[in-house]
Amino acid sequence: MSGDRAAIAAGLLPGDDLHRALLRSIVDTARAIFRAQAASVFLLDAETDELVFEAVSGEGEESLVGRRFPSSTGIAGWVLVTGQSLVLDDVTADPRFASQSAQSTCYVPKCIMAVPLESGDRTLGVLEVLDRPCAERFTMAESDLLGIFAAQAAIALDLLQRSRSARRLLDDGGGDAAVLTRLAAALESAEAEDREAALALLQALERIVSRRR
């Protein structure tokens, strides 16, 4: 039934545009706060075991969203799998990293901050902030700030995932209670007189269903 309820809720909400906007706002803000060149949120697609660029601010924002790579690849993969955040400076010193990064994103950062996005015991993805001013010493305060951002991004990502899986359920027929979603949508667009009559019927139905509980 919880799937039914989620599907009904998803059916009453607009698509995932708002969640996408929230994620985009988070990466924009992270980029601004850390004075970074770019920031990205990666979502784990557990079915294909891949990381997907879900929101990008700065370098690559036009081309990277939707791009995928294997889930345990490189620094984002290590952070995802181990649950530990990392801050790395001078990463171009690692020729393998530079070449992988250049091939996959056409952008080679010098500094990376990467933090896992987790909600309860679910690992959802990774937040990366690229090229903060590398010459400045990294501080514990920045580390705390990164953690706070990650907590916020994780909530947005969790909502997005739940909304998507509920919408998939709805698209697949929506479970036994999908009729309620269709009914609610029809009520919203009904004429006032019809709507009043329909609501009276629904209230009567509610009394019957409640009486038999």
Binding site: Q84, S85, A93
Partner: protein
């Protein structure tokens, strides 16, 4: 269960009991100094004779800051079967090499062993982590460095059993604390040494935390570390603080091979930078 002592009847004793002569031998087995300090704990030790296992992304054994590893294995899981194979791949990320290099810098003559539990995707990473740790505990290494954690509740019981087994088999697990407000493991277990970061620029500065579950802070901000393909870079995170403590534990274990994990942990606390009052 309390240990019961009997002067005779030793054949009939259960495994948890100890007979009189054995009890007297145990009583006199270790001489403690009147005051413990770093000189007593690990002065003159280079880690020679101690083995430290790095459970991570693999280790680049050829890296000059790593200086070779005694053995490197990778965990591969196929269905219900676990394969522990010689690791021909090396480090799939660079992180395991960083940890190995830090341990080597603190305990230059310890033996390093690598268990690669990463590289097979996220979905299989939990079982690989468990099986990698299981293998490490079975080998009886003096110190097991785990700069990683999991939030997956379904692995908690297995992890708990393994960390307890390590504790009783005298393998000290040193684990990175999570730096965000989520429940993760194994660092929260009392049987391991849990480590987070401080920003003091001294590899031998370690602080005891009177307010656990994080028990110790070690150098974890802007550390120059070894990385893939012979490179180096500057890194920050609890996962780099942890191998500093592993290295110090290797120094202690090399000098005092009979110490148990709780004794090594106590010694860390007594010799911490914020606990030393004399000398």
């Amino acid at each position: 269960m309390a240990v019961t002592l009997h002067a005779d009847d030793s054949d009939a004793l259960p495994a948890h009991a100890v007979a009189g002569p054995e009890a007297r031998r145990l009583r006199g087995a270790r001489q403690w100094p009147s005051q413990v300090d770093r000189t007593w704990a690990f002065g003159g030790s280079t880690g020679a004779g101690a083995t430290v296992c790095v459970v991570d992304s693999g280790v680049d054994a050829e890296h000059p800051l790593v200086g070779g590893v005694g053995r490197a294995v990778a965990i591969r899981i196929e269905g219900d079967e676990t394969h522990v194979e010689a690791d021909e791949t090396g480090d799939v990320c660079g992180h395991g090499t960083a940890c190995a290099g830090i341990i080597r810098s603190v305990a230059p003559d310890c033996e390093l062993v690598s268990v690669r539990v990463l590289g097979e995707g996220f979905v299989g990473s939990g079982p690989a982590l468990i099986e990698g740790l299981r293998w490490a505990v079975e080998q009886g290494f003096d110190v097991i460095n785990m700069s990683l954690s999991t939030t997956k509740e379904r692995f908690v019981a297995d992890l708990h059993a393994l960390t307890d087994a390590a504790y009783f088999r005298r393998s000290l697990i040193v684990a990175s604390a999570h730096n965000m407000p989520v429940r993760s493991y194994p660092w929260r277990f009392a049987s391991v040494v849990s480590v987070a970061s401080h920003d003091i620029d001294d590899p031998l500065a370690y602080l005891r935390n009177p307010d656990p579950p994080v028990e110790f802070y070690a150098r974890g901000v802007e550390v120059d570390v070894a990385w893939s393909d012979g490179s180096t870079l500057r890194a920050s995170g609890n996962s780099f603080a942890t191998p500093h403590i592993s290295g110090i534990c290797a120094l202690i274990c090399a000098k005092h091979p009979d110490l148990t994990p709780p004794e090594v942990k106590t010694l860390l606390g007594l010799t911490a930078t914020n606990a030393v009052t004399d000398g």
